[in-house]
């Protein structure tokens, strides 16, 4: 039974119709008058020093306006990571460097009147390289004799551990309890290593940016970005340009998933406009997105657990090695989350140690990607639990229910492991994981299928389960703000920095405002993500928007409500305590009269002691209440060829109060299919020289509608009292379960443990050979 009028309703997304009719504008839809075309030139070598660039032939081409490279661009160290300032990522990159650190690193940018000229002229760039020995194996990165990719001129702005002489981009170590005691108490130890691999976000819109001077001479950046405010700051920093002169606008965005939580194209386009006083367009190709933008960080996760014969884990040791690629964007924070979002789930473990290291390699650069380290960690943890319970003949679902964190409990990991700073302790307020597990068990028909190895000819079936938690915003670090004003028909403008990247945050935040003000959704006019017109918000990451930006919006709306009540009191001669609000009207229960929102606003704007009913609010949060998720898969394995088919996939999520259930389901469904695709068919293939070989959709396969299994998604509502109307987050968590659930299902079917994905027929077949299963 829904006690709200708008919250909890599957209201139509405010921009859905304009998107479905093609009238919405994405970055490349904005017409540029007299614009310049930008074409990047990339390094063909994985590791090389540019000895010289001769751009004379390029500049001689009619229609070429400029060539940017290290000789003519200010060398200002920064990070491209779209994070709060000072960023928890090393300042290890330049707009143009003279050291090339991966195949796909940026040598130069040709600026010309049109595409044809730019592409033709780019081929004439004369670059002399001193080719260096590259480093590709992250396990060897810290060896003495390995090539070093960065030097001591690079460093974190926050003073985090950084040892470039060892290619160490980040290191995190936490522990509590007594590991020796844990080892002694264990009856046996399970020691396994799991490898989460490369993946690409594959947002259908490639990274795009357009820059121009407006009619007042301000630099306007229209960018396909998740982080408009970080864009503004980093462009100011990297281009050495006054921040006050920069305006960043985020229009409609064609997907991000973390790939656009990065500021690596905007400074380039900005420089072109700054130098030539003309608009610039920089839209990268699909191949450039695959190779030269950002990837998921591969992480090798080793888990060692001491186990008693009754199932209790006496100690847990996680040793994670993250392959950061050529630069360290998000290297510390993704690494931290591999532990911080995973380890607290099993909080009864008294003795814990987490050592994480991020290392540089001469490979494409890792960045933020939905799940953000938790995905990689859960691939390990969920299989580890499967191994443990099978060894002891325990029921996996019952085991998880017995040992996972519960309402009222905490974990030492929360405080120990933050994101570049200390973590923040928290107590779990809401958790319906048990119900989520029950739904999965029921819907997949667990008990009829588990361990049964149902066989038909050459094909065997199995079922697997995985659980996870994520977070909702970064406590004490992220900030969101909102501004609202009232109009004379009882409608409200809602200006928010929060960034809708297709997630529907414009809608969800409007629903929160509408609920707080007791108005229908149509009375809220959202406007978001313009650094001139909206207040600050960190942007769309860390699953922060509903929880954190939602709290700011609610806080702001309640301030507005206060003002409305005060005006109404004056209008009706009422006592404030006699007033209540319902359906856009203020009622005086004593005098039995009412006045409408419209009348109230007109009074305020025009009649007496005129003022604009308006308010602002900022919010930070003191905790990051996790959503919880259970996911189950049924697979069919071809015992002759190793081909795996995912037959059915169940997801059940506790995201607190779902502000918009349809949008919440949509987030889970999208994340789940992304996770299944990542597990089954996606991989990066490199040549011996570190060149990415499969840089297009023809050779990097993602699921189509015809590939998805039968899917069921359940939104299980709990109530998170710290969240706006009880809400937590939902956008990332769905991607964590598929890979381990499918791996566990494969084991159930054929007794083969998949420590690495994608689970292609060949990989499964080889695993069958190696693990000697017929």
């Amino acid at each position: 039974m829904n006690k709200y009028t708008t919250v909890g309703k599957s209201e139509k997304k405010v921009d859905a119709l304009s998107l479905a009719t093609g009238s919405s504008m994405f970055v490349d839809d904005f017409a540029l008058k007299d614009g310049l075309y930008c074409k990047l030139v990339y390094s063909p070598h994985a590791y090389a020093e540019i000895l010289d660039i001769d751009d004379s032939k390029v500049l001689a081409v009619d229609g070429v306006v400029d060539v940017l490279h290290y000789k003519n661009v200010k060398q200002i160290l920064h990070t491209s990571a779209g994070q709060g300032f000072p960023e928890p990522s090393p300042y290890d990159c330049l707009i143009f460097d003279h050291i090339m650190r991966f195949v796909g690193d940026r040598v130069a940018m040709v600026v010309a009147e049109n595409r044809k000229i730019a592409h033709k002229a780019a081929k004439l760039l004369d670059v002399k390289y001193n080719i260096l020995e590259p480093l590709f194996d992250p396990e060897k990165a810290m060896d003495l004799e390995s090539p070093k990719l960065h030097d001591s001129s690079h460093a974190y702005p926050i003073g985090a551990k950084y040892v470039p002489e060892k290619n160490l981009a980040a290191e995190v170590e936490i522990g509590f309890g007594d590991m020796k005691k844990g080892e002694k108490e264990a009856d046996f130890v399970i020691d396994e290593t799991y490898n989460a691999h490369y993946g690409q976000h594959c947002a259908i819109e490639p990274h795009s940016v357009k820059t121009m001077y407006d009619e007042m001479g301000r630099l306007v950046i229209i960018s396909s970005t998740q982080v408009p405010f970080h864009v503004r700051r980093i462009v100011a920093q990297a281009c050495d340009y006054p921040l006050a002169k920069i305006r960043v606008i985020k229009p409609r965005i064609g997907g991000g998933f973390g790939s656009k939580q990065e500021v690596f194209l905007e400074p380039l386009a900005a420089l072109v406009t700054i130098r030539h006083k003309r608009p610039a367009r920089l839209v990268i190709s699909r191949a450039e997105v695959f190779q030269c933008s950002r990837t998921r960080h591969p992480i090798r996760v080793r888990l060692r657990t001491g186990v008693k014969n009754n199932g209790e884990i006496t100690f847990l040791e996680m040793d994670s090695l993250l392959n950061s690629g050529a630069y360290g964007s998000h290297a510390l924070t993704v690494l931290s989350n591999c532990g911080s979002k995973v380890l607290p789930l099993f909080n009864k473990i008294e003795n814990m140690h987490f050592l994480g290291r991020s290392v540089y390699t001469n490979l494409p650069v890792g960045g933020a990607y939905r799940g953000y380290g938790a995905t990689q960690g859960y691939f390990g943890l969920n299989q580890h639990l499967d191994i443990l319970t099978r060894k002891l003949n325990l029921d996996l679902p019952a085991y998880i229910k017995k040992y996972h964190i519960q309402v009222g409990e905490t974990s030492g990991v929360f405080e120990a492991l933050g994101e570049g700073k200390d973590g923040v302790p928290q107590i779990i307020n809401s958790c319906k994981l048990d119900e989520c597990i029950d739904i999965c068990i029921r819907e997949i028909d667990w008990h009829s299928k588990r361990d049964k190895k149902i066989t038909k000819g050459d094909k065997v079936r199995g079922v697997g389960l995985a659980v996870s938690m994520q977070g909702s915003a970064i406590p004490l670090i992220d900030m969101a703000a909102a501004y609202m004003k009232m109009n004379e028909d009882g409608s409200f403008n809602l200006n928010i920095g929060a960034t809708d990247i297709g997630t529907g945050s414009d809608t969800v935040l409007s629903q929160i405002a509408a609920e707080a003000l007791s108005v229908p959704l149509a009375k809220i006019i959202p406007f978001s993500s313009d650094t001139d017109r909206t207040p600050f918000d960190v942007g769309a990451y860390a699953s922060s928007t509903t929880y954190l930006s939602g709290r700011a919006v609610k806080k702001c709306a309640l301030k507005i409500k206060d003002q409305i009540l005060k005006v109404a009191a004056e209008m009706m001669g009422s006592d404030l305590e006699d007033l209540y609000v319902e359906a856009s009207e203020v009622f005086d229960k004593k005098q039995k009269k009412s006045t409408s929102y419209g009348d109230i606003c007109c009074y305020a704007l025009y009649t007496h002691k005129q003022f604009q009913i308006q308010a602002e609010a900022s919010e930070i949060v003191e905790q990051s209440p996790p959503p919880f998720m259970a996911q189950a898969a049924e697979v069919e394995v071809d015992t002759k060829t190793g081909a795996v088919k995912v037959l059915e996939f169940i997801s059940a999520v506790d995201c607190g109060q779902a502000i918009n259930p349809q949008l919440a389901e949509g987030q889970v469904e999208g994340a789940t299919v992304n996770g299944i695709s990542y597990a089954m068919t996606e991989e990066y293939v490199f040549s011996d020289k570190g060149n990415l070989l499969n840089k297009g959709f023809r050779s990097y396969k993602i699921s189509t509608a015809a590939d998805i299994p039968k899917m069921k998604t359940f939104v299980v509502e709990s109530h998170e009292s710290s969240g706006p109307f009880g809400a937590k987050s939902v956008s990332e968590i769905g991607i964590n379960g598929p890979m381990p659930a499918i791996a566990n299902a494969i084991y159930d079917a054929i007794g083969v443990r998949m420590y690495e994905a994608p689970f292609t027929p060949e990989k499964v077949y080889r695993a069958m050979q190696v693990q000697k299963i017929e």
């Binding site: 479905a20 009238s23 789940t672």
Partner: protein
């Protein structure tokens, strides 16, 4: 080169080069609802209807299109003020997230329903095997097409 294209029922004179692709020509001439996602015929963001049939405009030479051909973009089946039943069904089903793939998928659905007014779930999935979506996981898109089919039957 020059040709008069028939787009969304209206003639439009366009200039283009011999190697130019239809996607580029359309976008240069204001049809920005046709999106560019991969330029190799895999993602379907550039999908338009050529004489009623879905094609990838990124792989078509503009020179292949002659005056008798009829092109349809998503704006040709319905707009913000008079949306098509299919577009409304997408909205109602929650099938639109970032919306970048939506014009192409709406057109693919339109072509399907023109030919087969009662498609099975398998037929719906097959009709959009050339449209990639990373946001929705396709679940609500399939529901939207089935809802549209039902609503069109009622009409």
């Amino acid at each position: 080169m020059e040709v008069i294209l028939n787009v969304n029922g209206k003639p439009i004179k366009v200039e283009f080069t011999p190697e130019e692709h239809l996607l580029y020509t359309l976008r240069q001439n204001g049809f920005t609802e046709v999106k560019s996602g991969c330029k190799e015929g895999e993602c379907g963001a550039c999908l338009v209807l050529l004489n009623g049939k879905p094609v990838n405009s990124c792989l078509m030479f503009t020179a292949s299109v002659t005056e008798e051909d009829k092109l349809l973009t998503v704006k040709g089946i319905g707009d913000l003020h008079e949306p098509h039943v299919i577009q409304e069904a997408f909205v109602d089903s929650g099938a639109v997230q970032c919306g970048f793939c939506t014009p192409g998928i709406v057109l693919a659905s339109y072509a399907l329903l023109q030919e087969n007014s009662t498609p099975t779930e398998e037929e719906v999935k097959k009709a959009m095997d050339g449209n990639l979506c990373r946001c929705t996981g396709y679940v609500k898109i399939i529901e939207a097409v089935q809802l549209a089919a039902k609503r069109l039957q009622k009409k």
